[in-house]
């Protein structure tokens, strides 16, 4: 089994909702999708949801506000999965809820390094 990252992108991050206990309130669609993958023992980490604040730093001390300046799609979050091949993980990504909201998913393999 290899590990893969899914990077979720969309045009807008939308509103981030929190539960009373401070945890992220994820929608039913996301929860069911991720729960279904976790039930196959293929979720390594739910990963993280990125917030709305951002800065982009460029050479020459050029700092722009937010990640939005030049790209339409911004990264909303990422998670780590395990699978036999990139094809298998691509199949999982096909039902990712971000697709229903006009976003996209990028699947990338994680390099196996011997340290």
């Amino acid at each position: 089994m290899k590990e893969f990252v899914m990077i979720y992108r969309g045009e807008s991050l939308g509103e981030i909702k929190l539960n009373p206990d401070g945890t992220l309130a994820i929608s039913k669609e996301w929860e069911n999708w991720m729960g279904g993958i976790a039930a196959q023992n293929k979720l390594v980490s739910g990963g993280m949801r990125l917030g709305n604040e951002g800065r982009t730093i460029k050479p020459g001390n050029v700092i722009t506000d937010g990640p939005y300046a030049e790209i339409k799609e911004i990264i909303g979050g990422l998670s780590i999965f395990r699978g036999e091949s990139i094809e298998e993980v691509t199949e999982m990504a096909k039902s990712c809820p971000v697709l229903k909201f006009g976003g996209n998913v990028e699947v990338r393999d994680v390099m196996q390094l011997n340290n």
Binding site: D21, G22, T23, K28, E31, N32, M34, G35, G36, A38, A39, Q40, N41, L43, G46
Partner: protein, 412 residues
């Protein structure tokens, strides 16, 4: 009461108390000596009480005899005189007699400390459970062998190896420092959780014994919740989980020991007192921000004590299983999640998800698919129940499955 009934009863309640105190006195490397002294005490009780009658305060009699036997042992054993005894004497007040403190507060402290010592991840889980049953619960080796459906020799070997490992790793019998308790208690809770499950999901036909395992797990968890430094949210969550499950003890088994499935249980047999206790501990568990897997499992168990089959119930249960699986995978949670999914989104949707689980070696997986195909494709349902009956190891499960097949065949 005759001594023949009283002694086993006292063995169950007093063995563990004296054993814990003596273990703490001697150190982890001499658990067996502590056990032997307590066993000898009970042997003497059986002999003496049979002849002279039961003393007015039997427990106090046992304590006095155990104390004397310990002192005798310390006096005549050279190993102790040279190595252990000076230390013991050093830590006790002036006299050369070791202080064998069998007060209730010292018994409680010793038991708590032994719990942390025994629930040590360096020894396998089944050894932790075995040793807990012996030292913390006062089960005889025969009873432990019965509980694990194995023989005395296997248990003796298992416990011997576990004790050797504890000795080798020089495990101390003490409470972890305040700052480490929440980390160290994870192992203790895992063992208590497994001990409870050992009883609750056991294929053992001895229902009195398996219920005892559950009650012992609950008693030990209660001890943690009653002690200030260990009264953590996850402890209360585990206790809530146990109470909710235990509330169905009487409903889940027929008078002749047959398993009754949740859907077919008589709600009137559910124990409301335990359900209320579970709710109390679940509320206690809600203090703080820690959301452990026990919180999620207790919440799932709570919904199972609620009225049947409201849409809200199954949506909540599905959501909780999703979150539980995201925290920690287990095949049982994966199967149960799929069942909840069927209740919310229908059997067809659940069949698609079930077939991705990769659990086709499990009889529970085929039982689930049998359930899901029932009414959708009864032939498939019969096929899956058939596979399930071949894979299951217990006759109780097989009986339930064969009944399902017989029912389905009438409809084909």
């Amino acid at each position: 009461m005759q001594e023949k009934e009283l002694i086993p009863q006292l063995y169950r309640t007093e063995f563990r108390k004296i054993a814990a105190v003596l273990c703490r006195l001697f150190g982890i490397e001499h658990i067996t000596i502590a056990e032997d002294i307590v066993s000898d005490t009970f042997l003497l009780a059986a002999e003496t009480w049979g002849l002279k009658g039961i003393p007015p305060n039997p427990a106090a009699w046992l304590y006095t005899v155990a104390k004397n036997k310990t002192k005798d042992f310390l006096k005549r054993n050279t190993l102790f005189n040279e190595k252990i005894s000076p230390e013991v004497q050093y830590t006790t007040t002036q006299s050369f007699e070791p202080d064998i403190d069998l007060s209730s507060s010292n018994i409680r402290d010793s038991q708590l400390q032994m719990m942390f010592a025994i629930c040590y991840p360096g020894i396998p889980p089944e050894s932790q459970i075995g040793l807990s049953l012996r030292i913390l619960c006062g089960f005889s080796i025969d009873e432990i062998a019965d509980a694990f459906l194995t023989n005395k020799e296997t248990i003796n070997k298992r416990l011997y190896r576990a004790k050797e490992k504890l000795k080798q790793d020089a495990i101390k019998i003490e409470m972890p420092p305040e700052t480490q308790i929440s980390k160290r208690i994870e192992n203790v809770l895992t063992t208590l959780y497994l001990l409870f499950n050992e009883g609750y999901y056991s294929s053992n036909r001895n229902t009195v014994l398996t219920k005892d395992l559950c009650l012992e797990a609950m008693r030990l968890t209660h001890m943690l919740s009653e002690n200030e430094s260990t009264n953590l949210p996850e402890v209360n969550a585990l206790l809530a989980l146990m109470c909710f499950h235990a509330s169905r003890f009487d409903a889940r088994l027929s008078p002749d020991g047959e398993l009754i499935l949740y859907d077919e249980q008589d709600i009137l047999l559910w124990n409301n007192e335990l359900i209320k206790q579970g709710q109390y501990y679940l509320n206690m568990a809600a203090r703080g921000n820690n959301l452990s897997k026990y919180h999620l499992e207790a919440a799932i168990a709570y919904w199972h004590t609620a009225e049947r089959d409201s849409p809200e119930k199954w949506e909540k249960v599905l959501s909780l299983y999703n979150r539980l699986l995201m925290t920690e995978y287990s095949p049982i949670a994966a199967l149960n999640r799929t069942y909840a999914l069927a209740k919310v989104y229908g059997n067809e949707a659940a069949i698609i998800e079930a077939e991705k689980l990769g659990l086709d070696q499990s009889h529970l997986y085929h039982s689930l698919l049998g359930e899901l195909y029932t009414g959708v494709d009864n032939k498939q349902a019969v096929a899956h129940f058939g596979t399930a009956s071949k894979l299951t190891k217990t006759s109780a499960d097989k009986k339930v499955i064969l009944k399902k097949i017989a029912g389905l065949k009438q409809k084909l």
